[in-house]
Symmetry: C2
Subunit: 482 residues, 2 copies
């Protein structure tokens, strides 16, 4: 028997067959065993090493399965040719290492300390999360043997959850739909990916020039042709809608992000009329923020005025519960439902069954609407506080978009550019977002730099401190317009 | 004042302003108030109805926001023209109702009773789910005030979760990667949607002629050009790989679904060599089922042999924990990471923060690997039981694909066609899947109808009952080959 470097440790935690497997493998990769060479029989090897034959057989089987050995009928095991493997490693090891280094450098550059005061339009008030109710519902959800929760369930999401959502939509948003029309999914972007697949390739999508850029990027990634429309005080310009030749118009009638415009009925009807003029035109109504309307009761969704079946409604629990929940839903008009079944019905629902069950109970037991009512008042007070504070600031030219949502839009009298202002604010620990971040088109030049001030997760003291920092910063930048 | 049908109920639960809003709205939609008509002043209306002015102002504001009224500076409120809305309703109400009816009929047709005995290749053993550990981890996860769980977190998933996954991959699958290369997402299909976006449009994807059809449909939906390759006993035919001109080859080397082939090292190296020959060729290694290998230790992933960075690795917790968890992950080679950041870095992770934290703790506390080891033995026993039972059946020609996974492939001596056999079995309460269900190409004609028998969620008694039903059914169908 050829001398092999095989040293088995009886007391090791690693099984003997694994040790043997590793040893033979090493002998092959090191070239001590050459391609075509015959290995000792299992009987011989076992006797020689003082182990059982089955131990050797197991090791040989594993090596065979991985392609290091090949058995020949009635003749034994032979070493395979694995030279190509090591050729590949040597050729590319250098480049790979270099690439890794570059990657890590980039990562370090990107890392910057998070701001202490975040006027973020995306954050909710974590201090007011209904921990107790959530905790209780979650605890009840986990009986020791509920195998129901282990099954994949329906592609659109659980029927009982969709029923709850449809009831909520009817009550709160004037959206009348059957649970069958609702698709539950892990976030708006995922649902837009589905929608793009339902609508088919080569579609053109028109969005307002300031918009929700994640939706823009999603459609673009899905191969849609992207178009930007101007906005006036009532929202998307109808002239652009008609001129664009778009197949899909994406709007946020309840509270346009980031401008905060509430689309009046007239414009809504014009949009619906545009869509109804052709069988293949659709309006995507992103109804985010609609839950938090502070003046009067919520404005019904555009969907409610659509009798021709051209509106796709998008809703989310990101702001009404928490963004980290990752549950959104899309309501499809009947004419798209069939295409959903055909093109996308095979996808499993992207929300875990646990998450669906938790949300279902949270809705069903009334926690959701109680939480919403509480938060509506709470955010309203926050908004009033922020606006009162902003009115005292000499650098504030105007405040708008205050009908709804968790942010306002502020025109700033500053000599800094929008970008410079945001960068400097971040440097002083204050996160603010310039309007330009949300721009996808070529809007007319603005008279003032504009920033979004989100207030979802800030208390009054934090607002005061944040505004004070901004005040000093802006004062240090020189006089506006000079 | 023009007479309006306004009847306010002081004792109603509905707020007075809401009642007033609804009443005026009704007057407008009924045509009792015409476009252009001026409404009484808030003062006059308030006095007339015996309510406060602010109640009337609230109602007018709401009607204005919804576009039913338009204020004119210093002059009062005027009724808007909403005629278009009702025109739209009338035109389309008929078609919509008709469509709804059709939809419901289709739904009824599709509904069929679920089978009692499911030889499903997708199901796990729900009876062996680690309920106790899962329950405990979940309970600890929900402290009353952990706002950390409410933040969106990283696009790729939580760093600590990805670290755990990378450690597991190294130990169990020989996959050496940095946590930065791992993208956590809600299921394989979602991750493939991302991958298609990363790779860009117009790619051609080659898959084996029998394959995981959901992946096929996902790539197709994403606009990829789909190609099918023949398979031999070692897996995908290299001749087809070279001839196809494909950009991407999708394989399952650990346990090909549905055929159960384990790809030997030689074929793996040939594939890697093909990929390395061009900068833009990639292999998608779907490593599902790899955890459940019953002969020797698991075979390392193809990824481990790739030094040129051309393999995208796909893993899932669907079988190792439960499909309803909806957590998968994709490991990207360095060269695709940059493109991920650029094209897809803006997507929020599709797995909820709660789900991520739960899985993290389940991995970190060792529950996962303990569960895996237990289940590996458990499923191995199940497989042995099923194969022993199958050996006694006279209608079984052969059993294959038994190296790993949760199903075997059975050639059946029956006069029925594959489709007919599955249909009749379902009619008798037994779910089986014909090989043709997984076919995307034009494979050579088979000698025998073949079915997949999954055993994940069946105990011995169920297997016996299921096989007995199949035996009777096949006997009733006449003799094979006559």
């Amino acid at each position: 028997m050829k001398e092999l470097w095989i040293d088995l440790q009886a007391k090791s935690k690693t099984a003997l067959y694994e040790q043997l497997y590793a040893a033979i493998r090493r002998n092959i990769t090191d070239g001590k065993l050459s391609p075509g060479e015959k290995l000792p029989s299992t009987r011989f090897m076992a006797k020689n090493l003082g182990v059982s034959r089955s131990t050797v057989a197991l090791a040989y089987d594993q090596l065979t399965a991985e392609g290091y050995l090949a058995p020949r009928q009635g003749s034994g095991y032979y070493v395979c040719d694995i030279s190509e493997l090591y050729q590949l490693s040597r050729e590319h090891a250098g480049t790979e290492k270099q690439r890794k280094g570059e990657q890590e450098n980039r990562k370090e550059e990107a890392a910057s300390p998070a701001c202490e005061i975040r006027f973020s339009p995306y954050e909710i008030d974590c201090r007011k999360f209904p921990y107790a109710a959530w905790y209780r519902v979650n605890k009840e959800l986990m009986p020791r043997e509920d195998s129901e929760l282990l099954l994949s369930g329906e592609s659109k999401g659980m029927e009982k959850l969709r029923s709850q959502i449809s009831r909520y939509l009817y009550r709160a948003r004037g959206v009348e739909c059957r649970p069958e029309q609702i698709i539950v999914g892990a976030g708006n972007e995922y649902l837009l990916m589905l929608l793009a697949q339902i609508l088919g390739t080569g579609k053109s999508v028109l969005m307002e020039e300031y918009t929700y850029v994640q939706a823009y990027a999603t459609f673009r990634n899905m191969g849609c042709h992207m178009l930007a429309a101007h906005t006036d005080s009532d929202g998307i310009c109808m002239e652009d809608v008609h001129m664009s030749g778009a197949d899909i118009v994406y709007v946020m009638p309840a509270h346009q992000f980031p401008l905060g415009i509430v689309m009046p009925l007239k414009r809504r009807l014009e949009l619906l009329k545009w869509a109804a003029a052709s069988g293949e035109r659709y309006i995507v109504e992103d109804d985010h923020d609609s839950e938090f309307r502070y003046k009067g009761k919520p404005i019904p969704a555009l969907w409610g005025n659509d009798r021709a079946g051209h509106v796709v409604y998008l809703g989310t629990f990101s702001k009404s519960i928490t963004p980290s929940l990752r549950i959104s839903y899309m309501v499809l008009p009947e004419r798209l439902l069939e295409r959903y079944e055909k093109n996308c019905g095979f996808y499993a629902c992207t929300v875990s069954r646990f998450g669906q069950e938790l949300l279902y109970r949270f809705l069903e037991e009334g926690h959701f609407e109680r939480h919403l009512n509480r938060m509506r008042n709470h955010y309203k007070q926050k908004q009033e506080t922020l606006i009162a504070l902003l009115k005292r600031e000499n650098w504030v030219q105007s405040v708008s978009g205050d009908n709804a949502g968790l942010h306002v839009l502020v025109e700033v009298k500053t000599a800094y550019s929008e970008e410079e202002l945001c960068r400097r604010a971040a440097g002083s620990g204050v996160e603010i977002h310039g309007l330009a971040e949300y721009c996808i088109g070529n809007p007319p030049k603005k008279a003032y730099p504009s920033v979004l001030l989100g207030y979802g997760n800030l208390n009054e003291a934090e607002m005061r401190r944040g505004l004070e920092i901004l005040r000093r910063l802006i004062a240090g930048g020189g006089t506006f317009g000079k």
